[in-house]
C-alpha cells in the first residue's frame, strides 16, 4: 500500500505515458494508470485529454477499477459530453447486473453525470431501480431522483418519478423511507407552493415509525422534514412531541438538535397550562447542556442555537448558568458565544457568580474576548439593578489596570450605565477623566465626551476638557465630532457665561469647515435654535432622554421566529435567514412558527408573510426617529453594536421590507403627520410643543425637513415626499423628481422638472409603458413655457387607469418615457398601491362576512407595523382618508381588531384585519385576497397609517 507515489509524478510527457499505460493489455498496469489519473485530477491537473482512454477501461470485472473510472467520469463528463455517451451502454448494462451493489453503483453514478443526452437514457434504468427488490438499490435510486431533478426538473415531473418517490415513503425499509424523504424535501424546496410532501397524519405516522429504525442520518432527514409539518391541533402536536422526545438521548448531536427544532416548533401549539407543556420544557434543558460536552465545532453550532432558544424561551435554561462558564482552553469562538449566553441568562439570582466570572475573563489574553467581557459587566449593571453598584466598582477596578482597550471599553459601558441610572454613579467621573489621554478609539472618545457634556455642571473644568478635544476637531471621526458639537452646546446651555467663545468656535468648525452634511446640518440647527430661542433650545437639547432597554442585542422577533424554524442549520449559525446567504430559489421561502395556542396570545408570534422579492420604494428622507434622536444627542446608540447578530435582519430579501424597510417608511412619513414624536418611542412631547411655540424655529425646521404645508394637516390621503426618478447626468441635464397622490378621486403624478443643462428645454411629452393596473396619462404633459437653465417647474399630471395592462415585477413598477427637444429618456418608478384604492371601497358588512369566510388560508399574509402610537379610532380615521374602510371593529382581551376592506381600481377587493393592542405600539396587519397584490398592499399601506 504505497499509493502515495501516484501523487509525485510531475514530469513532462506524462499524459502520453499515461495514455499508453491505459491502453495496455495488462490489467494491473491499467489499474495503476487509472490511479495515477485520479491522483492528478485530485491535485487539480487537467487530465480530460485522457477521456476516451479512461472510458475504455470501464468495461471490467474489477469493481475497484470500475469505481475509479466512474469517479473520473463524474468529473469530466460535462466537458466531453459527446464522448460521455460511450459510457451509457455500460451503465445500462450494469443496472441489470445480478449484484445489487453494482446496480446501485451504476444508478448512483449515472445520476452524477450532468449531460443531457445521458439523462435521457437514465430514465428507464432509474424507473426499474426505484422498484428494485433490493432496498440498497431503492435507497440509492431515491436519491437519484433528486439528482435528476437538479439537472432537469421537467423531465422528472413528466416521467412521473415524483409519484414513485412519494410511494417510497411507505416502503418497508427505513433507510429507503429516509432517503425518499430527503429527496422529496429537497425537490419541494424548489417548488415552494407545490404540495409535494403532502404531509398528513398518516404519512407522519409512517415517518415516526421509520424514525425509530433508520440510521442516525436518516433520523435527521426525517426530523427536519417533520419540522415543516403543521399539526392540525394541539392533540396531534402533543402526540408527535411525545414520539420525538426519545431522540433527545441520541448520541448524534445533529439528531438531538433536529429533535429540539421539532419540539420548539410544535410547542407553540400547546396550551401553556397543559402539564405536558411543563414536562417538555424540563426535558429540553439536559440535552442542550450535554451538547456542550461535544467537540468544539459542534459546541459552537450548539451555542449559536442555544442563543436563539434562550431568546425565545428563556425559562428552559435559566438555571443552567454554570455550564456556560468559559473554560481556559475553550477555542475563542466557543468562549465568545458562551459569554453571549451568560449575559442573556444573567439575573438577580445568579448575578454574583456571573460578575465574579466576568471579572476573571477581563484579565485573559484575547483582546476581543476581554472587550466583550468588559461590555458584559456593563450589561449586567443595566439588566440587574441590584448589581449595578458592584458592576460599577468592578469596572473601576478594571480601569485601574490601565490596560488601554480595557479602559476604553469600560468607559463606553459606563456611559450606558449613566443613561440607565441617572444621578447615581457620577462620583466616578473624576476617575474617568484621569484616563482622558489614553482614549484613542472613536467610540470611547465619543462616550467620554458625552459624559463630560451631560454632566458639565458637575465637572469644574468641563470647558477645558472639551476644548482640548476641539484642537484636533478635523482629525476626529464623525461620531466624535457630532458628539463634541452636542456636548459643547449642552455645556453652553448649562454655563452660558464662560463658554460663549467655545460654542462659537465649534459651531463655525461644524458649519463652515466641515464637508460632512450631517455635521453641518446639526451645526446649523443648533445655531438657529440658540440664536432664535435659547429656551426652546434648552428644552430640545437638554430634554429627558428615553430609557434604554435592558435586553440588548436581541434578534428582531420575526427573524427569531424564522430562525427557530431553522434550528441546527447554517441559518441558525449565521443568525441570518437563508435568503441572505443562499442563492437562487432554494431556501428563500420563509418558515414560520405555528400560531400560538389560545386567542389572546396571537400577537406573541407575529408571522412573517411570504412576500416576494421586490425593492423597497425609494426612501431618501432619513427616518424621523433618527433625526430627532440626533438632535437629542441619542446617536450614541443605546447599547447595541459589537454583536453582528443584529444586523442580518437588515441585509436583503423580503425580510428587510418588513423589518427595517417598513420602519424607515414609517419614519420617512413626515408630511401630514400629527404625531411627530411617534417614531421616537417615549420621546418627549417637548419637540412638537416647542415647534408650535416658536414659529421661527418651526419654520427653520420646516425648511430642513421640507415639511411644506404638512404640519397641521392631520387627515387626507398620504403623499410621499418627492424622490428623484431621473438623474440629470443620465438625461442630458434633465432631472425629474416626483411622487404620486390621490386627490378627490383622481390619481395624479406630481413632477418636478429641473433643467441642469446649459440650454433651454422645450417640447415635453410623456408616455407610460404597459403596467399592472393600466395607469396612463389622462392628458398631455403641461409644460407651457420653455425650461431655461437652472429653472425648476412643477407639473401635475392626471392619470387614468384605462391603459393597457401588463403584470410588472414588482407589481407597482411603472416605466416612464419623457421626451424633450433634446432626446427621449426612460426611467422607472414605483407608485404606492394606496393610489389605487377607490372611494367606493366600503364593502357591505354581510358581504364582507361571507367573503371573509371564503378566503382560503394560503391567501393570507401577516405583517407587523411598528411603533405607531395611535389608538384604533384615530388609525381607522386616518386609513379612511386613504380609502381603507373599517367595516367592523371588535375588542378581544385588550386588543382592538379592525376589519377593513379596500377596493382597487381594477375591481379587486382586499380584506384585512388589523390588531391593535393598547399600550403596544406594534400593529399586526393581516390581509387577504390576491397573493401577489397583498405584498404590495402591505408595503404601501404602512405609511398611510401614521
Amino acid at each position: 500500500m504505497t499509493d502515495s507515489k501516484y501523487f509525485t509524478t510531475t514530469k513532462k510527457g506524462e499524459i502520453f505515458e499515461l495514455k499508453a499505460e491505459l491502453n495496455s493489455d495488462k490489467k494491473e498496469k491499467k489499474k495503476e494508470a487509472v490511479k495515477k489519473v485520479i491522483a492528478s485530477m485530485t491535485v487539480g491537473k487537467d487530465v480530460s485529454a485522457l477521456f476516451p482512454d479512461v472510458v475504455n477501461c470501464m468495461q471490467t470485472d474489477n469493481l475497484e477499477l470500475k469505481k475509479l473510472v466512474y469517479l473520473y467520469l463524474m468529473n469530466y463528463a460535462k466537458s466531453q459530453p459527446d464522448m460521455a455517451i460511450m459510457a451509457v451502454n455500460t451503465f445500462v448494462k450494469d443496472c441489470e447486473d445480478l449484484n445489487p451493489l453494482i446496480r446501485a453503483l451504476a444508478v448512483r453514478t449515472m445520476g452524477c453525470i450532468r449531460v443531457d443526452k445521458i439523462t435521457e437514457y437514465l430514465c428507464e434504468p432509474l424507473r426499474k431501480c426505484l422498484k428494485d427488490e433490493d432496498p440498497y438499490v431503492r435507497k440509492t435510486a431515491a436519491v437519484c431522483v433528486a439528482k435528476l431533478h437538479d439537472i432537469n426538473a421537467q423531465l422528472v415531473e413528466d416521467q412521473g418519478f415524483l409519484d414513485t418517490l412519494k410511494d417510497l415513503i411507505s416502503d418497508s425499509n427505513p433507510m429507503v423511507v429516509a432517503n425518499a424523504v430527503a429527496a422529496l424535501s429537497e425537490i419541494a424546496e424548489s417548488h415552494p407552493n407545490s404540495n409535494l410532501l403532502d404531509l398528513n397524519p398518516q404519512t407522519i405516522n409512517k415517518l415516526l415509525t421509520a424514525l425509530n429504525e433508520c440510521t442516525e442520518w436518516g433520523q435527521i432527514f426525517i426530523l427536519d422534514c417533520l419540522a415543516s409539518y403543521l399539526p392540525r391541533d394541539d392533540r396531534e402536536s402533543q402526540s408527535i412531541c411525545e414520539r420525538v422526545t426519545p431522540r433527545l438521548s441520541h448520541a448524534n448531536s445533529a439528531v438531538v438538535l433536529s429533535a429540539v427544532k421539532v419540539l420548539m416548533k410544535f410547542m407553540e401549539m400547546l396550551p401553556k397550562d397543559l402539564d405536558y407543556y411543563g414536562t417538555l420544557l424540563k426535558k429540553l434543558a439536559p440535552p442542550l447542556v450535554t451538547l456542550l460536552s461535544a467537540e468544539p465545532e459542534l459546541q459552537y453550532v450548539a451555542l449559536r442555537n442555544i442563543n436563539l432558544i434562550v431568546q425565545k424561551r428563556p425559562e428552559i435554561l435559566k438555571h443552567e448558568m454554570k455550564v456556560f462558564f468559559v473554560k481556559y482552553n475553550d477555542p475563542i469562538y466557543v468562549k465568545l458565544e458562551k459569554l453571549d449566553i451568560m449575559i442573556r441568562l444573567a439575573s438577580q439570582a445568579n448575578i454574583a457568580q456571573v460578575l465574579a466570572e466576568l471579572k476573571e475573563y477581563a484579565t485573559e489574553v484575547d483582546v476581543d474576548f476581554v472587550r466583550k467581557a468588559v461590555r458584559a459587566i456593563g450589561r449586567c449593571a443595566i439588566k440587574v439593578e441590584q448589581s449595578a453598584e458592584r458592576c460599577v466598582s468592578t469596572l473601576l477596578d478594571l480601569i485601574q489596570t490601565k490596560v488601554n482597550y480595557v479602559v476604553q471599553e469600560a468607559i463606553v459601558v459606563i456611559k450606558d450605565i449613566f443613561r440607565k441610572y441617572p444621578n447615581k454613579y457620577e462620583s466616578v467621573i473624576a476617575t474617568l477623566c484621569e484616563n482622558l489621554d489614553s482614549l484613542d478609539e472613536p467610540e470611547a472618545r465619543a462616550a467620554m465626551i458625552w459624559i463630560v457634556g451631560e454632566y458639565a455642571e458637575r465637572i469644574d473644568n468641563a470647558d477645558e476638557l472639551l476644548e482640548s478635544f476641539l484642537e484636533g476637531f478635523h482629525d476626529e471621526s464623525t461620531q466624535v465630532q457630532l458628539q463634541l458639537l452636542t456636548a459643547i452646546v449642552k455645556l453652553f446651555l448649562k454655563k452660558p457665561t464662560e463658554t460663549q467663545e467655545l460654542v462659537q468656535q465649534v459651531l463655525s468648525l461644524a458649519t463652515q469647515d466641515s464637508d460632512n452634511p450631517d455635521l453641518r446640518d446639526r451645526g446649523y440647527i443648533y445655531w438657529r435654535l440658540l440664536s432664535t430661542d435659547p429656551v426652546a433650545a434648552k428644552e430640545v437639547v437638554l430634554a429627558e432622554k428615553p430609557l434604554i432597554s435592558e435586553e440588548t442585542d436581541l434578534i428582531e422577533p420575526t427573524l427569531l421566529e424564522e430562525l427557530i424554524c431553522h434550528i441546527g442549520t447554517l441559518a441558525s449559525v449565521y443568525h441570518k435567514p437563508p435568503s441572505a446567504f443562499v442563492e437562487g430559489s432554494r431556501g428563500v421561502q420563509h418558515k414560520r412558527l405555528p400560531p400560538r395556542a389560545g386567542s389572546g396570545e396571537s400577537t406573541e408570534s407575529p408571522d412573517v408573510g411570504q412576500s416576494g422579492p421586490s425593492e423597497a420604494p425609494p426612501a431618501v428622507i432619513p427616518s424621523q426617529g433618527d433625526l430627532l434622536g440626533d438632535l437629542l444627542n441619542l446617536d450614541l446608540a443605546p447599547p447595541t453594536a459589537t454583536v453582528p447578530s443584529v444586523q442580518p435582519s437588515m441585509q436583503m430579501g423580503a425580510m428587510d421590507l418588513l423589518g427595517g424597510g417598513l420602519d424607515s417608511l414609517l419614519g420617512g412619513d413626515i408630511g401630514g403627520s400629527p404625531s411627530m414624536g411617534a417614531g421616537l418611542g417615549a420621546a418627549p412631547a417637548a419637540m412638537p410643543a416647542s415647534l408650535g411655540g416658536a414659529p421661527a424655529v418651526g419654520g427653520g425646521l420646516g425648511d430642513l425637513f421640507d415639511l411644506g404645508g404638512g404640519v397641521g394637516m392631520p387627515t387626507g390621503s398620504y403623499v410621499a415626499p418627492k424622490t428623484v426618478w431621473l438623474l440629470a447626468m443620465k438625461a442630458k441635464g434633465l432631472e425629474i423628481s416626483g411622487t404620486f397622490a390621490r386627490r378627490g378621486g383622481i390619481i395624479q403624478m406630481d413632477l418636478s422638472l429641473t433643467n441642469k443643462a446649459m440650454s433651454v428645454m422645450t417640447d415635453f411629452a410623456i408616455q407610460f409603458n404597459r403596467n399592472s393596473f393600466g395607469l396612463a396619462p389622462a392628458g398631455p404633459l403641461q409644460v407651457l413655457t420653455p425650461l431655461s437653465p437652472n429653472q425648476t417647474i412643477d407639473v401635475s399630471l392626471p392619470l387614468s387607469t384605462s391603459g393597457p395592462v401588463m403584470k410588472m415585477e414588482p407589481l407597482n413598477n411603472l416605466q416612464v418615457a419623457v421626451k424633450n427637444n433634446i432626446d427621449v429618456f426612460y426611467f422607472s418608478c414605483q407608485y404606492p398601491l394606496s393610489l389605487l384604492f377607490v372611494e367606493d371601497g366600503k364593502m357591505d358588512r354581510q358581504v364582507f362576512l361571507a367573503t371573509w369566510k371564503d378566503i382560503p388560508n394560503d391567501n393570507e399574509a401577516q405583517f407587523q407595523i411598528k411603533d405607531i402610537h395611535l389608538n384604533s379610532d384615530v388609525a381607522s380615521n386616518k386609513l379612511q382618508g386613504s380609502n381603507i374602510f373599517t367595516i367592523a371593529k371588535r375588542t378581544v382581551e385588550g386588543q382592538d381588531m379592525l376589519y377593513q376592506s379596500v377596493k382597487l381600481t381594477n375591481g379587486i377587493w382586499v380584506l384585512a384585519e388589523m390588531r391593535i393592542q393598547t399600550g403596544n405600539p406594534n400593529y399586526t396587519w393581516m390581509c387577504w385576497r390576491r397573493p401577489h397584490v397583498r405584498e404590495c398592499v402591505s408595503q404601501n399601506d404602512s405609511p398611510v397609517i401614521s
Binding site: T42, P135, P246, A251, Y333, T363
Partner: protein, 441 residues
C-alpha cells in the same frame, strides 16, 4: 446538502477532493486554502462563509477536512459527519496523517462514494462498510447471491451495525466505565463548576444476535423499584459497597443500537450490540461528585521580580486505592528567568517552552497530601498589563468512577443459540480521569 468534501495537508495542498453538487466549483478548493489555511491566524470560527459558499472544517493533527456547501444545510449534521468520516478512516487505516491519506486515496474515494450520496450521509458504520468495501475489488464477483443480499440488507437494515452469523467459541464481554471529572475551583477552594462526563464503552464478543439489557444505579430506576416494593434485580446486583446507593444522572445519550423509545418510557437500556468495541452510552452528572484531588494554591508576589508559589495537593478517596499518572501544571509568567523548585514527592521541572512548572507523581494513595514550593525569578518588563494568571491544572487517573456510577447488571439473551446469560464471561472496569481540572490562583 454537502456540496463537496476536501482534505488538505498543513500546507493547503489538496489530498482528496470530491465534489457532489454542481454548484461547487474547483475554485472553492482554493478559496478555503487561501482564506482559512493560509490565513495563519487563530481560527475564529469553524464555519466560514466565503463568497456565498460555506465551509465547515475540522482539523485532525495537521490535516484539514472541509465540507463545502451553498445551501442552508444542517450544520450539526455536517460536523457530525466530518467526525464520523475521521472515525471511519481511522478504523480502516489508523492515524489520519498525510502519509496514510495518500497511501489510501483510492480507498477514501471509494468510501466517500459510499457514505455520502449527492451530499446526503448514508450508512457510515464501519462494521457494515467493512463487509463490502475491502479494497479487494474482485471479491464482489465471487460472492454468492445470499452474501450480497446479506450485505445490502445489513447496510440498509434496522440493525445496520451488526451482521448475522457471528460465532464465538467463548462468549465474552468487557465493560469499561470511563469518566472524566471536570472542575473549576476558586483560589479560596470554592467549587465554581464541576461535572463528570462519562462513557460506557463495551467490547462484545458474543455469538448470534444477542439481546442485551444494561442496568446501573440510576436514581430514577432505583427509586422506582423502591416504591414498587421489589428488591434488587436477580443476578449480578452487587453494589461496589462504597458510598452512595444511587446517582442522579443529568442526561445521557446512547449509541444508535439502544432503543430510545424504551428508555424514554421505562428507562431501561436494551439493545443488540455491535460486534467488537463501541461506545454504548455517554452521560453527565453534576451532583455529589467525588473530587479525587484538591489543589490549594498560594501565590505571593515579592516585589516586581519574584514570585513565590506553594501548591498543596490532597487526595480524597479511600486509602486502599491508588491514583496514577498524577501531573500538576503550574503556569509561570512569560518573563520568567529562573525557577527553583522543591517538592516532597515525585519530580518537578520548569519547562520554559510551556511556561509552566510540571510536577509529576507516579502514584499516590488516598487521604494523603503532598506539597511543592517554587521561587520564580522574573525579568523586569515595561509591560503594563498584569500577568493573566492562568489556572493550575491537574491530570490523574483513579480506579473508581468519580460520579459514583455502578454497573448493576448486563444481561444477555440469545434465544436461537444455546448459550445463556450465565455462560457469558463479563468484565467490568472503572477508570476516572481528569478532564479539565483547574484551580484558579
Amino acid at each position: 446538502m454537502i456540496g463537496g468534501l476536501f482534505i488538505y495537508n498543513h500546507k493547503g495542498e489538496v489530498l482528496i477532493s470530491r465534489v457532489y453538487r454542481d454548484d461547487i466549483g474547483r475554485n472553492a478548493v482554493d478559496a478555503f486554502r487561501v482564506n482559512v489555511i493560509h490565513a495563519r491566524q487563530q481560527v475564529r470560527s469553524p464555519v466560514t462563509n466565503i463568497a456565498r459558499t460555506s465551509f465547515f472544517h475540522v482539523k485532525r493533527s495537521n490535516i484539514w477536512l472541509a465540507a463545502v456547501t451553498k445551501q442552508n444545510v444542517n450544520a450539526a449534521m455536517v460536523f457530525e459527519f466530518l467526525y464520523k468520516m475521521c472515525d471511519v478512516m481511522t478504523a480502516y487505516f489508523g492515524k489520519i496523517s498525510e502519509e496514510n491519506i495518500k497511501n489510501n486515496f483510492v480507498l477514501i474515494y471509494e468510501l466517500l462514494d459510499e457514505i455520502l450520496d449527492f451530499g446526503y450521509p448514508q450508512n457510515s458504520e464501519t462494521g457494515a462498510l467493512k463487509t463490502f468495501i475491502t479494497q479487494q475489488g474482485i471479491k464482489g464477483q465471487h460472492q454468492t447471491k445470499e452474501e450480497q443480499s446479506q450485505i445490502t440488507s445489513q447496510v440498509t437494515g434496522q440493525i445496520g451495525w451488526r451482521r448475522e452469523g457471528i460465532k464465538y467459541r467463548r462468549n465474552e464481554l468487557f465493560l469499561d466505565v470511563l469518566e472524566s471529572v471536570n472542575l473549576l475551583m476558586s483560589p479560596q477552594g470554592q467549587v465554581l463548576s464541576a461535572h463528570v462526563s462519562g462513557r460506557v464503552v463495551m467490547k462484545s464478543y458474543l455469538s448470534g444476535m444477542p439481546e442485551c439489557k444494561f442496568g446501573m444505579n440510576d436514581k430514577i430506576v432505583i427509586d422506582k423499584q423502591g416504591k414498587g416494593g421489589t428488591t434488587d434485580e436477580p443476578g449480578k446486583s452487587e453494589l461496589g459497597g462504597s458510598g452512595k446507593q444511587s446517582i442522579a444522572i443529568d442526561d445521557c445519550t446512547f449509541h444508535q443500537c439502544v432503543r430510545l423509545s424504551k428508555f424514554d418510557s421505562e428507562r431501561s437500556i436494551s439493545f443488540i450490540p455491535p460486534d467488537g468495541e463501541y461506545e454504548l452510552m455517554r452521560y453527565r452528572t453534576t451532583k455529589d461528585i467525588i473530587l479525587p484531588f484538591r489543589v490549594i494554591p498560594l501565590v505571593r508576589e515579592v516585589g516586581r521580580t519574584k514570585l513565590e508559589v506553594k501548591v498543596v495537593i490532597k487526595s480524597n478517596f479511600k486509602p486502599s486505592l491508588l491514583a496514577q499518572k498524577i501531573e500538576v501544571r503550574i503556569p509561570t509568567p512569560l518573563n520568567t528567568s529562573g525557577v527553583q523548585v522543591i517538592c516532597m514527592k515525585g519530580k518537578a521541572k520548569y519547562k520554559a517552552s510551556e511556561n509552566a512548572i510540571v510536577w509529576k507523581i507516579k502514584r499516590m494513595a488516598g487521604m494523603k497530601e503532598s506539597q511543592i514550593s517554587a521561587e520564580i525569578e522574573l525579568l523586569p518588563t515595561n509591560d503594563k498589563k498584569k500577568w493573566a494568571r492562568p489556572p493550575i491544572s491537574m491530570n490523574f487517573e483513579v480506579p473508581f468512577a468519580p460520579s459514583g456510577l455502578k454497573v448493576r447488571y448486563l444481561k444477555v439473551f440469545e434465544s436461537k443459540l444455546n448459550y445463556s446469560d450465565h455462560d457469558v464471561i463479563k468484565w467490568v472496569r472503572y477508570i476516572g480521569r481528569s478532564g479539565i481540572y483547574e484551580t484558579r490562583c
